[in-house]
Amino acid sequence: MWLTSKIKQVLLVLKPGVVTLKYPFEPHPVPKNFRGQPVWDHHKCIGCGGCAAHCPARTILVRDLCQDLRVMMYDGSRCTYCGRCADVCPESAITMSEQYELATNDKNDITLSMELFMLTCQRCGRCYNREKTNMIDKMGLKGFRYDNLELRAVIQKATEHFDEKMLEESDRHQRPRKIGE
């Protein structure tokens, strides 16, 4: 009984043979719908900030340096590759690429930053939906945002008109410290 079961197990192992891939030495292709590193197409991006407002991991930051210049930064070090940004983008400017070999010593290797020139709406400064009543939604849609790019921190505030004071304040933003430090 013992011996026959062991012989059977040997056959069980021999039949499939070696299945280990030679991966690092041979490339391993990924399927068509793979969710790899997201890539932005700066030609298509209109700077609406929808991706930043919907990112569950808060890895997309938006900072308005002045009335006409908006910086969008993607920090891949915390990205969960859920692909939500690509889903919500109204202009299909974001695609989930096939790139998955993203291990690195330097955060900047997986950081993407775009500077977008924004136009000013003659009527409202910058357009946003006035019908939204929910504060969180509104925050995402208001014209100007001030995330701190240096600390890669989301500042949960936005203003209707460009506010230099906010810009300065967010420049001095500090991460929460341990009590007593």
Binding site: V13, F34, P56, Y81, D87
Partner: protein
């Protein structure tokens, strides 16, 4: 069979004025507001009616009426009914009767709210710290609304958890926090007499990520499924589905039938791969690495299929509130059928190899025994309970998604040991394959997403349970303002099962400890999900590599 009306009548006849209000938004959900003085009696009455304790939910209601709320939830499995007993205590004097003396499984839930909300329970048998780290300052209750989500108290030295008293004549063997057989941090202090285990104390909750607090303060309804999915690395869809269902129930949204079928298929795909993974791990724990290698080889084909369907091997990101994100195309449908065929064939070979192997029989039969009554008392769930003759399965008892349209058996064994859990899991994998086939056949056409017509009303309560590979997952949701939950409570299956482990270990051999702990398929990170905690306390003496080597050599030489 009890109907919702009968339960209501029984409760109001017996307790009269102690029952303040009934609320039943659905035929299968009963919310009862009760007087706090009679919590214990009413809970016992529900258990007498056939109720099985699930979990307690504590929440901060200070801003509204200066109270802390506590909800005990029960499942009446034969009657497809969830009963939730809601009570409230004033925040200045939050004292309640403990239900733990009668329902031992409530012990952790109550200890959790002692830590997180500052509640007090009279008559609790073990009112020790459970969730918070040992150096967390007294008087800061992280789940109260006044405490900010990113609060970081300073670390303290010289504080350590006081383990239970070691029985006389026994020696303490520490297993963990980091141990090769555990894979995740958890500390078991095992009391042994020779080789026999005489007791054990558990100190876990070392990997809190503050998920519940985070989701109640920072993100919105639509983002939570992605965070919920990351509660567990193995059964992610389960949490996302359970959360999404609770939001849909609270808001009254009916999602499309096709989306429900796709959810069912995703859940069953997850069960197949999770059970194969567990089978491999179990083989590895008892030193049978052939099973480990082969089970994981077979599992790989379903992982690759998931990658094709969802874009990722794990953390599928498929399930969102209102439906699913990707559709199953006809080509993928055919491919899935092919994958299932190979898995079924290969799994049959592995099953025969396991059943014919005397070594596995010897290592698992008669190990980790607890009786049916004990398992019932401790409200164990999932394959662990089904291996002890408890016939429960949320898929059949409280049908959700598309489980009402598929036929399947629920394997139940009564040998009450680790061997039974192995067999139950293998049989369940075959059942899962059966379910996926039926779901693929019956799946109707239609949209995969349903949009919300209006905003979700605040302060609605909803409870949703989903059968995960390890047992049943319970999510309780109280909707809030500002597009995010007021309170969201997650109970992973390991939460009740782990409380039963000391009983399973009792009087077993120390060498069987890994497989007994392994037999519940423990997922410590799922269990430890509540509040941000900084770990790292107790005094540590740092040794350099050289010092350690010198001490080791000195000991080695002394032993010679």
């Amino acid at each position: 069979m009890l109907t919702i009306e009968e339960v209501k009548n029984k409760l109001s006849n017996r307790f009269k004025s102690a029952i303040i209000h009934f609320d039943h938004p659905l035929r299968s959900r009963l919310f009862v507001d009760i007087d706090k003085a009679r919590v214990r009696e009413i809970s016992n009455e529900i258990v007498r009616m056939g109720g099985r304790y699930l979990v307690s939910i504590g929440y901060d209601n200070i801003a509204r009426d200066k109270t802390l709320g506590l909800i005990h939830t029960f499942s009446l499995d034969r009657d497809d009914l969830f009963v939730c007993l809601r009570s409230a205590v004033p925040a200045e004097d939050p004292v309640l009767d403990s239900i733990t003396p009668d329902i031992p499984n409530a012990g952790w839930s109550e200890r959790e709210y002692m830590d997180l909300l500052g509640m007090k329970f009279t008559g609790h048998p073990k009112p020790k710290r459970l969730i918070l780290s040992d150096d967390w300052p007294e008087g800061i209750y992280p789940l109260r609304k006044e405490v900010p989500w990113n609060l970081m108290p300073p670390p303290a030295e010289n504080v350590a958890y006081q383990l239970d008293e070691c029985p006389e004549g026994c020696t303490v063997v520490p297993v963990g926090p980091f141990h090769p057989t555990l894979h995740e941090p958890a500390h078991f202090a095992v009391f042994v007499d020779g080789e026999t285990i005489k007791g054990c104390d558990y100190r876990g909750f070392m990997v809190h990520r503050g998920i519940e607090k985070l989701c109640q303060t920072q993100v919105t309804y639509n983002e939570i499924p992605f965070i919920a999915e990351r509660i567990c690395g193995i059964c992610g869809s389960v949490h996302a589905t359970s959360y999404s269902q609770s939001v849909e129930l609270a808001s009254g949204l009916k999602i499309s039938r096709r989306a429900e079928f796709i959810r069912t298929i995703m859940l069953e795909i997850e069960r197949v791969h999770s059970h194969l993974l567990w089978l491999g791990v179990a083989g590895h724990l008892i030193g049978f690495d052939t099973v480990f290698m082969q089970a994981w080889r077979v599992r790989e084909s379903i992982m690759w299929f998931s990658e094709k369907l969802t874009g990722n091997r794990k953390t599928y990101g498929m399930i969102v509130v209102g439906g699913v994100r990707r559709d199953i195309t006809p080509e993928l449908k055919d491919e899935l059928a092919g994958v299932l065929k190979t898995i079924e064939k290969e799994l049959m070979t592995i099953k025969n190899a396991i059943i014919g192997d005397t070594a596995i029989h010897r290592r698992t039969k008669g190990v980790g025994c607890i009786t049916n009554e004990e398992a019932r008392l401790w409200s164990l769930v999932g394959p662990v309970a089904r291996a002890r003759g408890i016939d429960i399965d949320v898929r059949r008892d409280h049908p959700y998604a598309a489980y009402d349209e598929v036929q399947f058996d629920v394997p139940v064994l009564d040998s009450c040991d680790v061997w039974a859990t192995v067999v139950v899991r293998i049989l369940e994998t075959f059942e899962s394959i059966k379910i996926i086939r039926q779901a693929l056949d019956k799946m109707p056409d239609g949209p995969i997403m349903t949009e919300f017509a209006e905003d979700i009303q605040p302060l609605r309560h909803a409870i949703s349970a989903v059968e995960a590979p390890r047992g049943e997952v319970v999510h309780y949701l109280i909707t809030g303002e500002e597009n995010r939950p007021e309170r969201w409570r997650v109970r992973a299956p390991t939460y009740p099962n782990l409380q039963g482990v000391p009983l399973m270990l009792l009087n077993d051999q120390f060498a069987d400890l890994p497989i007994i702990i392994g037999s519940i398929d423990p997922c410590f990170s799922c269990t430890d999900r509540v509040v941000k905690v900084d770990v790292g306390s107790g005094k540590a003496i740092r040794l350099t590599g050289r010092e350690l080597e010198q001490i080791s050599r000195a000991k080695l030489n002394a032993g010679r």
